[in-house]
Amino acid sequence: MAKILEKRLIRPPDVFYFKIDAPQISRKAQPGQFVIIRLHDHGERIPLSLADIDPDEGTISLIVMAVGKTSAEFVRMKAGDEISDLCGPLGQPTHIEKLGKVIVIGGGFGVAPLFPIARAFKAAGNKVVCVMGARSADLLIYEKEMGEVCDEVLVTTDDGSKGVKGVVTVALEQELEKGDTNLVVAVGPAIMMKFVCLTTKNFGVKTMVSLNPIMVDGSGMCGACRVSVGGETRFACTDGPDFDGHLVDWDLLMSRQKMYLGEEKESFEAWKARHPDILTEA
């Protein structure tokens, strides 16, 4: 059991921040790692990236957006509630070293796990530039937080309501043209990471991505999270989640992510029918 200590709505109506009591995990967890949660005894196991780690306080933080049944159930939980199972830290930490200039780039609520990664690169002595994007200004999250740990935050919005008009790769390209970037780290939807990699490849800048395939056990036992990197099959849970983005077979990842689309919809619809009040509670 793991207790929720704090819950905050960070982007209406459905993106929430949770701080969870996890003293042992917080002492071990490193930026780039993830946990697997199971909310209750009928629940599925889903991986979630760590949005923050505080070993002094003994807590970890997760950002959850209600996109399916499990995440919708999660965002209904309140401070004081307990998650049945919390397992981690899992996966390899992001490799942090002093390189010079690092661009961290995130889309959607993928910006959240970038926070501890950006902070670690900054602490290692790098100049850290964050590029973050959303469809419009009101959908941006973590802008202030990233500002605290990065030298610069570049915002893009599809509709131009804030920052550069367009997708993240527009701002990324402008930044890469300066020619001083040593590494790009991308976290977010697969399609965004794919286009980030296509962009950085033109500039010959190494790009690490955090892959998010479907997982079950998270410890290398089942192989559900198979990804293809450089033509080789790897397990994202134990070999990753970070890989060299220029070697990833993105189409395979996206295809595998959709394996249970029908079931996920069925499960979510049935649940919503039973919970018409969903998302109106914060």
Binding site: C87, G220, M221, C222, G223, T238
Partner: protein, 478 residues
């Protein structure tokens, strides 16, 4: 012939059949296939045991269950004493009575078996265990006075729990670290409900709590803590993580949607209860046609699970002939009764896909050539014999390798080239004093009972080590 001998009824040559669910019916449900002996059937079968003076069956058992003694109690209709007797050496009788390959162990050694069918020891063990669950009371095991020593056990599968049980009874304080959210290891995630009901596993593991063993779930050793860290807090450590790393063939199309490792397919079904989806949240895909690659028990479990999940056609694809099938005869027999197709002497070349999903397996026919290292005749492809087996779901049940999480995160632990931990067969000692290992992470995929045997041997040696008998020698890499 003495009067007494003359009075003895003549030995029934055949073992008492065990009632089973009708094959057609059971292919549609997850209830147990074998229904177990009634009291009358158990008594009839127990009478077939001749009570040898030096029973070879006991030696045939990796944990030396006092078989003759427990059967004598069944003969005397003292079922509580029968189960208590078994539990002196076996913490998992309901499990072993169901899944042990008795035909290769105790029953193989049975003296009656030399002339007739051997005594159905497994079925009797199961009877005693089930009788206790339904009628008896779980006897609290005798626990020796506390030694003040602490032992960490990694993995709550058959090897870990056996080791834990033995050490706890010797007075040591035992903590088991389990990676998943429930204890049981392969008994829980691997072996299907229809062969081993999960309530049996839970029931037997509950016995550990009676002994004061603490089980910490969601604890992935190698991540949350390392063996090195555990050794600072504990006096000894037993690594029994199993061989949890699924093998794939490395053929084209293996990452298509619809292709599973047996581990994933069975974990979704057994541990996560995907067969009840959407009641439980974890989904599973079952197409009309399911092909399982492999011929072991895990392959049989997978193909029979697929059938129960609703597959119209479920096929085993195996590259050798039926004689070489490594699965237990009983499992093959059950699978055939249920209508499983067997495509023997067939080897996959690639998985054919369409829109990202598996559609068929292209295979080649094989013939048996000269014997290989394993002594079995090596299968050789027949040129030009390629053909397609249509399949929406493909399950790779071709064995497992060593999961690297623990071995690679532990200092000074000698490993084999393939990543298994090197440990002494008789004691479980590794290259590091106080660190022991056993079960599949040492031997590679084996059986529940062999893993239990390894747990027992390690417990014996850990006890000696903790109680200050001369410093044991660690194993050296050959």
């Amino acid at each position: 012939m003495t009067d007494e001998e003359r009075k003895k009824p003549k030995l029934i040559p055949n073992r008492t059949p065990i009632p089973e669910q009708d094959p057609k019916e059971r292919g549609k449900n997850f209830n147990e296939v074998s229904l177990g002996y009634s009291v009358e059937q158990a008594l009839l079968e127990a009478e077939r045991c001749i009570g040898c003076a030096r029973p070879p069956c006991v030696k045939g058992c990796p944990v030396n269950v006092p078989i003759k003694d427990f059967i004598a109690y069944i003969q005397a209709q003292d079922f509580q004493s029968a189960i208590n007797k078994i539990k002196e050496t076996n913490i998992l009788p309901a499990v072993c009575g169901r899944v042990c390959p008795q035909e290769d162990q105790c029953e193989k050694a049975c003296v009656v078996g030399k002339k007739f069918e051997p005594v159905a020891i497994g079925r009797l063990e199961r009877f005693a265990a089930d009788w206790e669950r339904e009628h008896g009371h779980r006897l609290k095991p005798k626990i020796a006075p506390s030694t003040g020593k602490k032992v960490a056990i990694i993995g709550s599968g058959p090897s870990g729990v056996t080791c834990a049980s033995d050490l706890a009874q010797l007075g040591h304080q035992v903590t088991i670290f389990e990676a998943l959210h429930e204890p049981g290891g392969v008994l829980l995630y691997g072996i299907p409900e229809f062969r081993l009901p999960k309530k049996m596993v839970a029931g037997e593991i509950a016995g550990l709590a009676d002994m004061g063993v603490v089980i910490r779930t969601n604890s992935v050793v190698g991540k949350l803590m390392t063996v090195d860290e555990l050794m600072e807090e504990y006096d000894a450590c037993y690594i029994a993580t199993g061989a949890g790393l699924p093998n794939f063939m490395g053929i084209e199309g293996e990452n298509l949607n619809g292709v599973y490792s047996a581990n994933e397919f069975l974990t979704r079904t057994n541990l996560m209860k995907a067969y009840t989806f959407p009641e439980y949240d974890t989904p599973i895909k079952v197409g009309d046609r399911v092909a399982v690659v492999g011929g072991g028990n895990v392959a049989m479990d997978s193909v029979r699970t697929a059938l129960r999940l609703g597959a119209k056609e479920a096929t085993i694809i195996y590259r050798r002939s039926e004689t070489e099938l490594p699965a237990r005869g009983e499992e093959v027999h059950h699978a055939k009764e249920e209508g499983i197709r067997f495509e023997m002497l067939t080897s996959p070349i690639r998985i054919v896909g369409e829109d990202g999903w598996a559609k068929a397996i292209e295979c080649v026919k094989m013939e048996l050539g000269e014997p290989d290292d394993s002594g079995r005749r090596r299968p050789v492809p027949i040129a030009g014999s390629e053909f397609e087996v249509p399949a929406d779901i493909v399950i790779m049940a071709i064995g497992t390798g060593a999961n690297p999480l623990v071995p690679r995160s532990t200092r000074d632990l000698e490993l084999t080239q393939r990543g298994y931990i090197i440990a002494d067969e008789e004691t479980g000692r590794t290259s590091r004093p106080g660190v022991y290992a056993g079960g599949d992470i040492v031997t590679g995929s084996a059986t529940v009972i062999l893993a239990m045997g390894a747990g027992r041997k390690a417990a014996n040696d850990i006890h000696k080590y903790l109680m200050g008998e001369p410093e044991p020698e660690t194993v050296q890499k050959a």
